[in-house]
Symmetry: C2
Subunit: 103 residues, 2 copies
């Protein structure tokens, strides 16, 4: 069974579907080709601004791509943590709790 796609994999797939070159997309983002190459292979993380531009360039749903990007960022924080799963659940609880009492 296949794992869920990384942001990089999504970006590469869509770029290739559109027949765009790294060079071309990198130019639109105003960064070096090397960085985009690294982003697509998950060697580096994109910034939020880059993600937004990429959604536009590749005609991906912006909200979906941001959620994808943020969730990856969250998982990165706890990737080596044994208690990561518990921490995630605790975070959700706190978020609920705090929302309830502010809104």
């Amino acid at each position: 069974m296949k794992e869920s796609k990384t942001t990089g994999e999504i970006l590469r797939e869509e770029r290739e579907k559109k027949g765009l070159l790294l060079r071309q997309v990198a130019a639109m983002l105003d960064i070096d080709t090397a960085i985009l190459s690294k982003i697509e292979r998950s060697e580096r993380k994109a910034s939020k601004e880059q993600i937004i531009k990429l959604a536009e360039i590749l005609e991906l749903d912006e909200e979906d791509l941001i959620v994808q990007f943020l969730s990856e960022k969250i998982l990165y924080e706890i990737k080596d943590e044994e208690l990561g799963s518990k921490a995630l659940k605790a975070a959700e609880q706190k978020m609920k709790y705090n929302n309830k009492n502010n809104s």
Copy 2:
């Protein structure tokens, strides 16, 4: 209704319960008093190593304190994000999904 406690609040409460001074606990942690003061007021974040030492010094359950610490770290990542809640849920999903396929 009171919000859930921050790590800093927990640490301060427990330190005061034990009648320990910032100076004393900071010395045990081998950091300056100023930093511990800032940690307790959530002006700075403790490192994981410091959290572990603090659990021991203050006789708090280590696992609980780490979960508290990590969940705060996660929430910090998404604190200004409109899509934070969706991202958290997505992260949980991915975590489940990946666990299922590796273990």
